[in-house]
């Protein structure tokens, strides 16, 4: 350890102002703070600093995603062998999924981090850790058989046009991972439509694809899958979104560490359940006749509620706003699912829509608070 510290210190002058590689300053800084805790302290004025910095927060999100990732890998293999009609060992299934998912993960990280480093270099900023979570989320919300170049293209599109143009980590209006998915959803609908997901089985069974629970529900009003299978996650769908249990483990971790807001999360589920229930008792047909509890476990509802809606950057800051924001996400997701047959998966569009309105919600709530206090002062003055 000491030798490493010595080495880092010895090459440091090269990367500082006036050094040979001073243009690589932020890259060096990123690796140095990755290896060692920075010992810089604030100068001037009084600052209260929490031990939990951006790095810790992001790492908790990444850890919370691990169960969903592992389950997604297993499920990819499970669906593959089920489609082929072959029996396979647990290890074979997992290995198949692992080899399918790992390249997507690598592409997403390499492309995204490459752009992040390059932009930080150009602007002379520090490299931010925000992409570590985004890079993990991107493959998890895509079907397992999306071509790798599409993953790379979508990642580049999202990082440049949804994040860096707005000023980088913490300044984006929309969730970059969802923008990546939305890009593919509209650009290459045949790969992403949500009606059917390929299991990567096209070599063995030519052109085989299976309907997801959502498209079954869209066509017939029933998911076509066992309810408990939906909970365990043994249904076709995007890699990380299928298993409710794996997502719940992540949710507990994020709630216990305080990284995600329980208010947002719970109100998404309440909004979704209530809207679906209203469709149920209103006698809607097709997707609307689906039991409210089934609506919550199929498609990306859980994943979106736990990992996407709670993104602190794109959700409202006011506590009361989080209830409104979450409730409307849940409600919009079900409304889009039921009323628009073109988009069986409403969660992505609902979250992006509410991301757009999050600043407005904040502004209204802050404004109301101000006027309420003004009124109180007036009352007292009387």
């Amino acid at each position: 350890m000491k030798a490493l510290r010595k080495y880092v210190d010895s090459v440091k002058p090269n990367f500082q102002e006036g050094g040979k590689f001073s243009w690589l300053r932020s890259t060096f800084g990123a690796f140095e703070t990755f290896l060692f805790t920075p010992n810089e302290v604030n100068k001037g004025g009084v600052h209260v600093r929490d031990a939990v910095d951006l790095k810790r927060t992001i790492i908790v999100v990444v850890l919370a995603l691990i169960p969903a990732l592992l389950m997604g890998m297993y499920n990819t293999g499970y669906q593959h062998f089920r489609a082929l009609g072959q029996a396979a060992e647990f290890g074979d299934m997992f290995l198949y999924g692992f080899l399918q998912v790992l390249p997507m993960l690598i592409v997403s990280y390499v492309v995204g981090l490459g752009i992040e480093f390059a932009v930080a270099q150009m602007r002379g900023h520090e490299v931010n850790e925000g992409f570590l979570a985004t890079g993990m989320l991107i493959p998890l919300i895509m079907p397992a058989d999306v071509p790798l170049w599409m993953v790379g293209l979508a990642t580049a599109f999202a990082v440049i046009l949804a994040k860096e143009v707005f000023g980088g980590t913490g300044m984006n209006i929309w969730n970059p991972a969802l923008i990546a998915r939305a890009f593919l959803f509209f650009a290459y609908p045949s790969k992403m439509s949500g009606d059917s997901v390929w299991y990567g089985a096209e070599k063995a069974v030519d052109g085989f694809s299976g309907a997801t629970a959502l498209s079954n529900a869209n066509a017939t009003g029933a998911t076509g899958f066992d309810f408990m299978d939906c909970v365990y996650g043994l249904i076709p769908g995007s890699i990380g979104e299928t298993s409710v249990i794996a997502i719940a483990i992540g949710a507990v971790l994020m709630l216990c560490t305080g990284v995600a807001s329980a208010k947002t999360m719970i109100s998404v589920f309440v909004g979704g359940a209530l809207t679906a229930y209203l469709f149920n008792i209103g006698g809607a047909t097709g997707m609307g006749s689906l039991c409210w509890c089934e609506h919550l476990v199929i498609g990306g509802f859980c994943f979106g509620a736990v990992f996407m809606a709670t993104d602190p950057v794109t959700s409202p800051r006011t506590e009361c706003g989080k209830y409104i924001y979450g409730f409307l996400i849940g409600a919009m997701a079900i409304i889009i699912r039921v009323l628009n047959p073109g988009y069986p998966e409403g969660m992505m569009l609902a979250i992006l829509l509410m991301n757009t309105f999050a600043p407005l919600i904040d502004s209204i709530i802050v404004g109301r608070n101000i006027s309420r206090r003004k009124n109180r002062v007036k009352q007292q003055a009387k």
Binding site: W149, M150, Y188
Partner: protein, 209 residues
């Protein structure tokens, strides 16, 4: 023929540092609507160029005789006449394109670039300067339309001017797919944004402090 400095500016500025679409941000709606393919974009750019140039000259000739209070009406009459003429010519000689452009030819009358140039330039300057300014503004608009339409048609449907460029089996089998998002209006806006980004990055005068 050598032009005075002012005339040169009147002609060249709209093409570069005072582009009607990317700097003044006018005429965006038609830039989104007609740029899914290159051909209608070219025709639209040409139509707007002709109309702005002629309307500029006419208004410039009338500028001292039109009472100030009814100048907008007069401008509208001139523009409407020209738009109707262009629309009829398109229907007669390029019917397919005119069908593709549908209402957007008629909507040139509401194009902010037109009224902007008439109000801001033709009302104060002579006919020759106004002609140059009109051609420059029209071409500046056409330039952006063509750039946007080039990317949208090439990446969206794999063609250029209707000729097949990318829809060959050898390319498709390699895993390439046409990008459906390019055919939707939001992508035109994003491409416009990227052009603005590029222009501002390369031109210090355009950067806002």
């Amino acid at each position: 023929m050598s032009l005075s400095k002012k005339n040169k500016e009147a002609f060249l500025n709209p093409l570069t540092i005072n582009n009607p679409v990317t700097v003044q941000v006018l005429g965006i709606c038609s830039a989104l609507a007609v740029t899914a393919q290159l051909e209608p974009a070219l025709v639209m750019g040409l139509a707007v160029t002709v109309i702005v140039a002629v309307a500029n000259v006419v208004i410039s000739l009338l500028r001292n005789t039109v009472p100030n209070r009814i100048r907008i009406i007069v401008q509208l009459v001139v523009v409407a006449t020209l738009v109707t003429l262009v629309s009829e010519v398109l229907k007669a000689f390029a019917y397919d394109v005119s069908v593709q452009l549908s209402v957007y030819v008629g909507l040139i009358i509401t194009n902010c670039i037109l009224m902007g140039r008439l109000e801001a330039f033709a009302m104060q300057n002579g006919p020759f300067e106004s002609l140059l300014d009109g051609i420059g503004s029209g071409l500046g608009y056409a330039k952006i339309l063509v750039i946007v339409a080039f990317f949208r048609e090439l990446l969206g449907s794999g063609k250029l001017l209707g000729f097949n460029i990318l829809n060959y089996d050898c390319i498709q089998n390699a895993g390439y797919q046409n990008n459906g998002l390019m055919l939707l209006a939001p992508m035109a806006l994003i491409i416009c944004g990227c052009i603005i980004w590029w222009e501002r990055a390369h031109n210090k005068d355009l950067q806002e402090k």
